[in-house]
């Protein structure tokens, strides 16, 4: 635990992870760390935190940080340079490429973990001053389909509801959302509703995840058939008189087309069951529940969004809410759960290639308005390239310069091997980062710029319910790290745009952002925080969490659209007639399965932060693939063994988990591992780069794949105080552990080779266990009484107990018995310990003898009668006498002690 200095005050900030946007109290310890707890006053979490948020304090170390600017020099190595040189270099190269190839030859690729102010400056620079809309973000992989769906239906990217609706709903429908793992604090809120108010929960997901409670309705539909389910629901609602004719009439258009299309997709419960692979009974139950429960919130997340028909899925859901008028009412609304801490903030500034700024698009009036507001010399007039297309353009050599900020596309994008190759073609590849190494940095960055990390940077973020919260600094900036907005501002100044980028603080930027949101708005656009445009610096610092809109002169509103008021010219919502659902790709004999990808409970994205936490490394330490038992049997893979997963784009080698929770015909693999922390487990390399036609979001959850067993004869693990480079032939997963670095591995090479490897890195004080005949080698080197490095390798399932050894490694000292048993690799809890042998003839230990003495035996002969000790060669009799004598002198003292206490 971090010890807190009472002189240091708790700073209110927000969590670095998901879109729930939990408030956090961070109390720095004065030594670079901080104690973390939930902020009881924050309306997103009321003091609750999930496992990841709670462990933030374990991720604050500087060991992997990028601390100063670096440039790839002539020799190919990265060299430290001064900020001014790095910035000059970036500006100069950008200028050169833009002048030569035009503004569309450069691009920014941003992150949902940037603050709104950073996002604002990036967007303004690229779209207003460089003159390209090639600004996209990893949010494209996260909720672009929700954005597109919202805009099609509502005329704006508006989340109509708020978190309170989760408390007040009677039915919560989760579609493609493993909220229990991905949005745990909101999930807790829903469970509280279930417990207190009896709300029912329906989980729609190809996988039976931990979100499915015992008494919930689980609809394990076939992948990509969500639209069929919700089309069937719309038909059911229409046929059973559940429609809100009044609302449809007054506030919407397009219902007739939409219902006609829905009927053509799934005209009945039976047709819905057929299309989705669900039982008719389950479908009917769900439809009845939905029909009979006015207070219904439908929550959707990546299972809906990450699809080549994601936008249609979103609209199929929205159609059902619009048709019943269940929108923007307490406890009744559709609700998009965002994945990242500031995906929403990015959407608000327009940090996506198909938005312009402040929820304005590329219509001539919007372009003109933004141009005038910014006094922009060269405003982008058309949409830029969305993430997947952006990297394809890089591969084709059309984009020559790329600036990546705070994200790891070489891991996270589909066809990640292709992305990595594409990056190598760049003429200029700039990365603003916290970490000195990750797969993207290692893909050939030319310039590394040290950005402030969570805990150091200051600005705002917006969570899934449109709530803007301050993220505040509570740690000093290490090394030469700078705010992202400062870095971009400096480059902008060097490009000659100094006047427009003269921001001196995040507050400066926020005020301009707020002013733009209100500029010529007058209620025409949903996003308006004009009331905040003249906050003083101190007001900005003290700003409490606030939900937008925050219009000047009007009351705050928590919800949208209960009374219509959509952001189309006619103020009406659009029913969208979705395409007949079909996955973009086909399975074949060679690729008979579908690969689904997603998050696990205790890791975040590419693990550059969560991977530092020993606590978070415990839950699921190794990259894995989940397989249904029938498929496991069919393809010859077994639980705990390894398998090779292949798609048309790449291959991975993963640990197999056989699970009934997985659907037949589908595989599931988590997205978190990369080259930086595992071997051949970069799941992004497997994913097909096919995208939704409206949102550009890739279909990360249904790539045709094959699975074959991959045999590793040996398993093992290593623990060390310092990072290790394991032999290249091994499959390795890196795990943060208390006190150092952990590595779980599998291998086929000779065990003796591991001995040589270990000896090359171990200290002199080395303990070894060798059973080469049994293919077992275990060793530990010591620094005093503490393990420095240890290695356990053996036949599969017999390498030693990782958890037991991890605990011993974490200890500062090992006592005699712990060291004696360490290389057994097993827990010795509960084993009788006779102590060091005194009577060698009968193997009687000191503890056994002392116990006998304590029981009243007072001569060596009597010990012999009782234990046989000393009755053969008799050489231990002197020691027996000594033990009796010692017990005699110790006893009275111990008695005294007992009395004294």
């Amino acid at each position: 635990m971090t010890v807190v200095n009472p002189d240091l005050r708790a700073v209110k900030t927000t969590c670095a992870y998901c879109g729930v946007g939990c408030g956090i109290l961070a109390t720095p310890d004065g030594r670079g760390g901080a104690a973390i707890s939930g902020d009881p006053d924050h309306p997103a979490n009321f003091g609750r935190l999930c496992s990841k948020g709670s462990a933030l304090g374990e991720t604050l170390g500087l060991t992997s940080r990028l601390l100063y600017p670096m440039i790839r020099c002539g020799k190919g190595t990265m060299e430290r340079v001064a900020w001014s040189d790095a910035l000059d270099h970036v500006a100069h190269r950008f200028q050169h490429i833009i002048a030569r190839d035009g503004p569309d030859a450069v691009a920014f690729y941003l992150s949902g973990q940037l603050l709104t102010e950073d996002y604002y400056v990036a967007n303004k620079l690229m779209k207003g001053f460089i003159g390209s809309a090639n600004v996209d973000t990893n949010s494209r992989l996260c909720m672009a389909s929700s954005v597109a769906g919202h805009r099609r239906a509502f005329g704006a990217d508006t989340v109509p509801g708020c978190y309170e609706d989760f408390d007040e709903a009677d039915l919560l429908v989760l579609v493609g959302s493993n909220a229990a793992w991905c949005h745990p604090v909101l999930n807790q809120r829903m469970l509280a509703n279930k417990q207190k108010r009896g709300a029912r929960i329906v989980v729609i997901d190809p996988r039976r995840t931990d979100t499915v409670g015992d008494d919930d309705l689980f609809l394990g539909l076939r992948p990509g058939t969500d639209t069929a389910l919700f089309s069937g629901l719309l038909v059911y609602l229409a046929d059973n008189g559940v429609l809100d004719r009044h609302y449809i009439e007054l506030h919407t258009t397009g219902f007739d087309d939409a219902i006609a299309r829905a009927r053509s997709i799934t005209s009945s419960i039976g047709a819905t069951a057929l299309a989705t692979g669900l039982s008719e009974q389950d479908v009917a139950t769900f439809f009845q529940m939905f029909a009979n429960t006015p207070r219904v919130v439908t929550l959707y997340s990546q299972g809906v969004n990450q699809s080549a028909q994601g936008t249609d899925k979103v609209n199929a859901i929205l159609n059902c809410h619009l048709a019943t008028g269940r929108i923007g009412l307490p406890g009744a609304s559709p609700f998009s759960l965002t994945g990242q801490p500031n995906a929403m903030g990015g959407r608000e500034v327009g940090g996506l290639a198909n938005q312009l700024a402040a929820h304005m698009g590329f219509t001539p009036p919007d372009i003109d308005r933004v141009r005038r507001f910014w006094t922009a010399p060269r405003i982008a007039t058309h949409e830029g390239l969305k993430a997947v297309q952006m990297f394809e353009a890089i591969a084709r050599g059309e984009i020559r310069a790329l600036w990546v900020m705070g994200t790891n596309p070489a891991v996270s994008l589909p066809n990640a091997d292709g992305v990595r190759e594409a990056l190598k073609k760049l003429e200029l590849f700039v990365i603003s980062e916290n970490v000195i190494s990750n797969d993207t940095v290692d893909a050939g960055a030319h310039v590394l710029l040290p950005a402030q990390a969570w805990g150091e940077k200051s600005g705002t973020v917006t969570n899934s319910e449109r709530r803007i919260s301050r993220q505040r600094a509570f740690l000093p900036s290490p090394g030469e790290a700078k705010p992202d907005w400062w870095i971009m501002g400096e480059v902008a100044r060097r490009l000659g745009f100094g006047a427009a980028f003269s921001f001196t603080s995040a507050a400066d930027i926020f005020r301009e952002h707020a002013a733009l949101s209100a500029f010529e708005n007058a209620g025409a656009r949903d996003f308006d925080i004009g009331a905040l445009q003249s906050l003083s610096d101190s007001d900005f610092d003290a700003m409490a969490p606030v939900q937008w809109p925050v219009r000047q002169g009007t009351e705050p509103q928590a919800r949208f659209f209960a009374e219509g008021g959509f952001f189309a010219k006619d103020f009406r919502a659009r029913f969208v007639a979705p395409e007949t659902p079909a996955l973009r790709t086909e399975t074949t004999a060679a690729r008979p399965l579908r690969l689904n990808t997603g998050r696990i409970r205790d890791q975040w994205h590419t693990m550059t932060r969560t991977g530092m936490s020993p606590r978070l490394g415990q839950h699921l330490p190794e990259p894995f693939v989940e397989v249904h038992p029938d498929d496991a049997a069919k393809y010859g893979v077994a639980d705990g063994d390894f398998a090779r997963i292949r798609t048309d784009y790449g291959q991975c080698t993963l640990r197999v988990i056989v699970s009934e929770r997985q659907q037949r015909g589908m595989l599931f693999a988590p997205i978190h591992w990369s080259e930086a922390n595992a071997t051949g487990a970069r799941v992004g390399s497997l994913v097909a780069p096919v995208t939704d036609p409206f949102s550009g979001q890739p279909e990360n959850k249904a790539t045709p794949a094959s699975i074959v067993p991959y045999e590793y004869v040996f398993r093992g693990f290593a623990l060390s105080r310092k990072p290790l480079e394991l032999p290249a032939h091994a499959w390795v997963a890196r795990v943060a552990v208390n006190g150092g670095h952990g590595y779980l591995f599998a291998d086929n090479a000779d065990v003796a080779g591991w001995q040589s490897w270990l000896k090359s890195i171990a200290r002199d004080d080395l303990a070894e266990y060798k059973d080469f005949g049994g293919s077992v080698y275990r060793a530990a080197s010591f620094d005093g009484d503490r393990i420095d490095t240890c290695l356990f390798i053996g036949p599969a399932r017999d390498a030693g107990d990782w958890n037991v050894i991890k605990d011993l490694f974490a200890a500062d000292t090992l006592n005699h018995d712990q060291r004696r048993m360490l290389l057994s690799g097993k827990s010795v809890d509960g084993l009788a310990n006779a102590g060091p042998i005194v009577c060698a003839c009968f193997g009687i230990g000191r503890n056994t003898i002392c116990d006998t003495i304590a029981a009243g035996v007072r001569s060596a002969a009597d010990i012999g009668t009782k234990l046989k000790a000393g009755t053969n060669c008799g050489s231990c009799i002197p020691e027996l006498k000594r033990l009796i004598a010692q017990a005699g002198t110790n006893d009275p003292e111990q008695r005294k002690l007992v009395v004294a206490n």
Binding site: L823, P836, G843, G845, I877, P878
Partner: protein
Amino acid sequence: MSEPLVIVGNGMAAARLVDELAKVALGRYAVAVIGDEPRLAYNRVLLSSVLAGETTSQDIELRPASWWRDRGVTLKYGCVATEIDVGRRELKIENDESIPFSKLVLTTGSSPLRLNVPGADLAGVHTFRDSRDVDLLLTLAAQKKRVVVIGGGLLGLEAAYGLAKAGAPVTLVHLMNRLMERQLDAPAAALLKSLVESKGIEILLNANTASIHGETRVESVELADGRLLEADAVIFAAGIRPNIALAREAGIPVNRGMVVDDHLQTGASGIFAIGECAEHRGVCYGLVEPAYEQARVLARHLAGREASYSGSIVATNLKVSGVSVFSAGDSMGGDGSEAIVLSDINHGTYKKLVIVDGRLTGAVLIGDVADALWYLELIRTRQPTARIRADMMFGRSLATRSEAA
């Protein structure tokens, strides 16, 4: 009338035989024990502890006089047997007295080897065998005499340790390239060397004693390589020789020891031999454990029961305080054997288990000897070890827990 049974030798084997006989054939024999040492039988194994000051000479007496009396034993100690008349079934002793026997058991033990080098007969050259030797060595140590111990086996190490503990500067010279080479492999012997050195004993390996110099008494020891070690005393601890003269002169077949069969009977009917003086199936044991096993078998045989001795699996324990050494069975391991090794040298631990055809055949333990007896049992019972192989190094409790699981 009880049958007269005479035991020649008053050592540990004799005492154990009397004890075993009392258990299985009390009253059947009139037992007489003839011993040349002038005291009651004592625990010879503990002589090094006496030398080290860890116990006293009185404390090592095996049994009080009353114990012998209670078992009806006629004790003649300080009394040398001179001749066996096999035909007349009589034992002659020093003063020409003859003792008739029906059964005779020879437990004459062994004597230290004296190297055949120049100066070996000088004053100040000693052996380490009985309590008289110990008294002498204690005197040397008390005077801080420089002592060279020749022989890096069990006996030499214990003598060296005892002397060093008693205060003498000690150098141990050993002919071979490692200590206890018959029991220990190279890493074990190297660890033992460092542990013994840490007790303040200088050890010279590959050290072949060429001669002992001195005018009237020992002054130095010269090694074959020319090295000269100053010394006030030299202890020979380079091996033992079974005491077989009595038997040989009586025409009882001898080889290195007195040859006995599986009933411990020599070539002469009704005459038996046990302990260090006996040679069974070509093996002369120099340890107490086989002598005890032989005593038990012989007692049962003499009691008329079915009993037969098929040899001992030898286990060695070194009695040097703080240096636990155990070796049993085929501790080297040869072709066709596998070795499992645990070494934690800085922690003073080295353990090797030798496995042949899935069975434990040998063990060497240094430092951690907690499970020595279990290994010995596994070696003796030849039980298959496949199921406990992964854990057996870490002791019986872990291995049997895993096996049960």
